[in-house]
């Protein structure tokens, strides 16, 4: 194994680490308010996960070398598929879809793990299959790899996460440089396939999409969540209603205040100023993530860092876009701010990998030799 090197500390990304700590602090404070609204002490459980996840993250930086993942990506892929299949048979059903695996002391959500696993597996694939540009025909293997988890997750049903995996795939294909012609072809066929997909959608899913385009159609029905979320955010005005004083959240007009609509709670209580500060911290985290990918000296690290950052980026965009009424309702949590053990762990492991890539950059610097 690697010996501890002083250069780890030199290359440790303090900005990234700081942004993560800030996000966890905000997450805890915000969840404290959300918990008061719902009456369950979510914030203490979340705090345990924050601590455990941070320990895991830091030990990953110190005791793990991300390059090992190149080898273990096959195992990771198989474990992910195995768990997703397990969900089909012994998964716990919550809210109409079978998403959870019970481990006794905690429930884990394999579809959350699948997000990170997909990043690792695809990075590993593109590391091995190194070519300057990809055509459509060069992609059939990774597509096949992806179809298995996507199908299993879609089957749960969890359309949001399934589409999310497609987004991660697309992000990494972008990183791998797709030919323009192939890109246009893909885009065209996606648009052409939309009516077909529409047929496969469940009525509630179709409703969500319709409601996204005309939210005032049924303010007390399916569009209720988004209307209330917009009211919550808007009523915060510039400085917010004050901590623990968000009437939308505390009087239960907002649904899911601890998970999907955590951002709305924050924006209601802290106003535009607070919301922009939170967005700024996310921006800092993602910026450092992309910077790590940009500065990586080798292909796997670049793909891994880019994939993890893209994964976080899409989660932030989709979640915040949704609560502000810019996107249809999809159950994607806001990284580190939303309540949820699996999400927190996956995010912190991802950040750990980012720090890992950054900290080991020195190994590829000029004048140093790899062992």
């Amino acid at each position: 194994m690697t010996m501890f090197d002083r250069r780890f500390l030199e290359h440790f990304d303090w900005w990234l680490f700081l942004s993560v700590l800030l996000l966890m602090a905000i997450g805890f404070v915000n969840l404290n308010s959300g918990s008061a609204a719902t009456g369950y002490p979510f914030q203490w459980k979340q705090l345990q996960w924050y601590i455990a996840g941070t320990v895991l993250m830091l030990s990953l930086v110190v005791f793990f070398d991300y390059r090992l993942l190149i080898v273990y990506s096959v195992h990771i892929y198989l474990i992910m598929v195995f768990m997703l299949i397990l969900v089909v048979f012994i998964g716990k059903t919550v809210g109409g879809s079978q998403r959870w695996l019970s481990l006794g002391f905690m429930n884990i959500q394999p579809s959350e793990l699948a997000k990170l696993a997909t990043v690792i597996v695809l990075s590993s694939y593109f590391y091995h299959d190194d070519r300057p540009q990809y055509g459509l025909m060069d992609l059939w293997r990774p597509v096949l790899l992806m179809l298995v988890p996507i199908f299993l997750i879609y089957h749960q049903p969890d359309l949001g996460t399934a589409l999310f995996l497609v987004l991660i795939f697309a992000s990494l294909v972008y990183m791998a440089r797709l030919q323009w012609t192939s890109f246009l072809l893909l885009l065209g066929s996606a648009i052409a396939a939309f009516p077909l997909v529409w047929e496969f959608l469940k009525p509630y899913q179709r409703n969500r999409i319709i409601n996204f385009f005309s939210p005032e159609r049924d303010p007390l029905g399916a569009g209720y969540h988004i209307s209330q979320s917009k009211i919550a955010i808007g009523s915060g005005q510039i400085l917010g209603k004050g901590y623990m004083k968000g009437s939308q959240a505390h009087l239960n007009f907002l649904p899911e205040v601890h998970t999907d609509f955590a951002f709305s709670v924050w924006a209601e209580e802290w106003g535009w100023v607070g919301a922009v500060i939170l967005l700024g911290i996310f921006f800092l985290m993602l910026y450092r993530g992309f910077l790590i990918a940009s500065q990586s000296r080798e292909r796997f690290g670049a793909f891994l860092a880019f994939g993890v950052t893209a994964m976080l980026f899409w989660q932030v965009v989709i979640n915040i876009g949704m609560v502000m009424g810019l996107m249809p309702v999809v159950g994607i949590p806001l990284p580190l701010v939303s309540y949820g053990g699996s999400s927190v762990f996956i995010t912190l492991i991802g950040i750990g990998l980012l720090l890992n890539v950054k900290s080991r950059r020195f190994m590829f610097q000029k004048g140093t030799r790899t062992r």
Binding site: V71, K230, I233, A267, F283, A302, F313
Partner: protein
């Protein structure tokens, strides 16, 4: 495995080109991310700053429900403080449309509970496009106990439905003086638009007529409100603040419950009106219009069929005939004629005229009601026996201008000034009017029939009552009042009401005395037309009237005529003659002779009144002031 792990450290490094390409891609990603950040910040600015006020309002509306607190409506009491109209709780089933998610399902559930069809409920919900949001709609007013308990037990499955308690009218003595009190009804759209009543909104009950309407603002009190914080399920979180309602003021009427009840009972069989007032003060003691309507029925809610019945064009139960009914005064008008003639020195009390039963004017013949004639008639006899020929001649000498002048001075042809809307002013014709209206000159024959209270002249029972009171009290014409006082919550008097003396009758005291003595004779003499009103222990003075509705060429019995062609029966009277306490005017539509129909009704009223005044047998005022059986020369 060990081997693989060893080899993995030797990962391929980027060459320079790859490194640059890699950096470019990441830079584009950072750019895209930055654009997203800007978009989000702009969107937040739009939501929180541009539309912030709007959303803040919406969140407040989400959070705060304002509940109105209805004040109890002011009571209406009679002059002795007996409760005519009180307040009881009324349970309404209400609905807030915005809280209903599935209106169809709700209506299907409500319909059997209320025992009404869905369509009926739906009409009550109305289209409501312009209706403000979150305002409850009353879908069942005054629900029965049984209905209430059925709904109450299912409230949890009826989102948006709740039961509201509002004060409603109760009438402990039954429906007393309905025309005077008036009833409540749902506020009209027009009233809301014109903001006629402060703080009222659709579905509220307001006075629709009578006192309830006139004193709506005093009786209604001031509505309070309570602001509640509720959660998404509409459950109460806390009370934010509360402004208690101010109860309505109580009204003490000058109406005497006993007299009113007796009056209503006395005139019940007829279509007509009755007014009794205190000639000393101008206060109304009883005011009846017949047929009556049931106030309780209005409090419950009136169905269409009943409404049709109340709007019957012949009997007109909703019309307050005492104020709004316009009738020819008939022979009661002879009081005015006598006063005018005496005052203008056309006659004196001793001058006699001959009555042969007929009077020729040009080519027309005018008859006395007594076709055989009265023979030699002086003023006393003319009033006692109501001779028409005497007054034809007097009227001719007076001329229509003088007649009209005196009639107006006696309060006819103008409103009495009672504080109620829709009072009719009656009508007194003049030659100028006829010329203007019909482009015809005044005929002398018209002067003749005006002299006996026929023709164009129209009066209301209230006007006649005031006139009688003025004669009784020595010549002061009052604007009648029906109120004693208005009291606030702790019985302190907010306002008291006195009637204003409108004017003095233009007649000297001695002349008035001549008339009064004749009126006394009209009731107490054997030949007096009003002797059916004679009371054993109290001296009543009065004058009958029989107003023709159609011209009769032949003498016909009333019974032969269709109802609507029969004569109106009038009787005006006051008692005790020496110190009048009560003046009464009775009118019965198409009932026949004043002496045979109206006078007995008045008698019952006097009887009741003097029983109330002295329930124990007490001294009756001595019959010394007047000589009953003839003209007293010394007076």
């Amino acid at each position: 495995m060990k081997f693989k792990v060893k080899t993995i450290w030797r990962v391929k490094r980027f060459d320079r080109l790859d490194q640059e390409a890699n950096k470019r891609r990441c830079d584009i990603a950072i750019l895209i991310m930055f654009l997203c950040l800007v978009t989000f910040c702009a969107r937040l600015w739009h939501l929180q700053v541009v539309q912030g006020e709007h959303f803040r309002e919406q969140s407040e509306r989400n959070r705060i429900r304002s509940v109105r607190l209805q004040p109890p409506r002011g009571k209406i009491l009679d002059r002795t403080g007996r409760l005519l109209a009180g307040v009881k709780p009324c349970f309404n089933v209400c609905l807030i449309k915005e809280d209903v998610r599935d209106m169809e399902a709700l209506l299907a559930k409500l319909s059997p509970l209320l025992g009404e069809t869905e369509a009926e409920i739906r009409t009550r919900l109305g289209s409501g496009h312009k209706r403000p949001k979150y305002i409850p709609i009353v879908i069942k007013r005054g629900a029965e106990w049984e209905t209430l308990s059925r709904i109450e037990s299912r409230l949890f499955s009826l989102p948006g439905v709740f039961i509201e308690v509002t004060p409603a009218r109760k009438y402990p003595y039954g429906s007393i003086a309905p025309h005077l009190l008036g009833y409540l009804g749902e506020i009209s759209r027009e009233d809301i638009q014109k903001k006629r009543y402060k703080g009222a909104r659709s579905g509220d009950l307001v006075g629709k007529c009578g006192i309830e309407k006139r004193f709506e603002n005093d009786l209604a009190g001031i509505k309070g409100h309570r602001r509640l914080e509720v959660d998404a399920g509409g459950r109460l979180v806390r009370v934010i603040d509360e402004k208690p309602p101010v109860p309505g003021k109580d009204l003490y009427l000058s109406i005497d419950l006993d007299l009113q009840q007796a009056s209503e009972k006395a005139i019940k069989e007829y279509v007509g009106a009755l007014v009794a007032l205190d000639p000393r003060t101008g206060r109304i003691l009883a005011l009846v219009s017949s047929p009556a309507f049931d106030l309780d029925a209005f409090a419950r809610g009136i169905d269409n069929e009943e409404w049709q019945r109340l709007n019957d064009p012949v009997t007109r139960p909703l019309q307050n005939k005492a104020l709004q009914g316009r009738y020819a005064p008939g022979s009661t008008f002879k009081i005015v004629m006598a006063a005018a003639a005496l005052q203008e020195c056309i006659i004196n009390k001793n001058m006699s005229l001959n009555c042969k039963g007929r009077f020729r004017l040009g080519r027309s013949v005018f008859r006395c009601w007594k076709w055989s004639g009265h023979g030699q008639v002086n003023l006393y006899k003319a009033l006692v026996e109501s001779c028409d020929i005497y007054f034809y001649q007097v009227g001719l000498k007076l001329g229509i201008e003088k007649i009209a002048k005196y009639a107006k001075a006696f309060g006819l042809g103008s409103k009495t000034g009672i504080d109620l809307s829709n009072e009719s002013s009656g009508f007194i014709a003049t030659p100028d009017w006829k010329l203007g209206r019909h482009q015809e000159p005044w005929q002398e024959g018209e002067t003749l029939i005006t002299s006996i209270g026929q023709g164009f002249t129209l009066v209301t029972p209230l006007q006649m009552a005031c006139l009688t009171a003025a004669v009784a009290n020595g010549g002061t014409l009052y604007s009648p009042v029906y109120l004693e006082k208005m009291t606030g919550p702790d019985d302190h008097i907010v306002a008291s009401f006195e009637s204003d003396p409108k004017n003095k009758l233009p007649i000297s005291e001695s002349n008035l005395m001549i008339i009064k003595r004749a009126l006394l004779g009209a009731v107490n003499d054997e030949k007096g037309t009003g002797n059916k009103c004679k009371l054993p222990d109290v001296l009543v003075a009065g004058k009958t009237g029989t107003a023709q509705v159609i011209r009769q060429d032949r003498r016909r019995q009333d019974e032969d005529l269709d109802w609507e062609y029969r004569d109106h029966a009038w009787f005006v009277a006051y008692a005790p003659a020496e110190r009048p306490e009560l003046a009464v005017a009775v009118l019965c539509e198409h009932a026949g002779h004043g002496g045979s129909v109206a006078a007995p009704i008045a008698r019952k009223i006097f009887k009741t009144w003097f029983q109330i005044q002295s329930p124990l047998p007490v001294l009756i005022p001595p019959k010394t002031a007047f000589n009953v059986n003839g003209v007293n020369d010394h007076v």
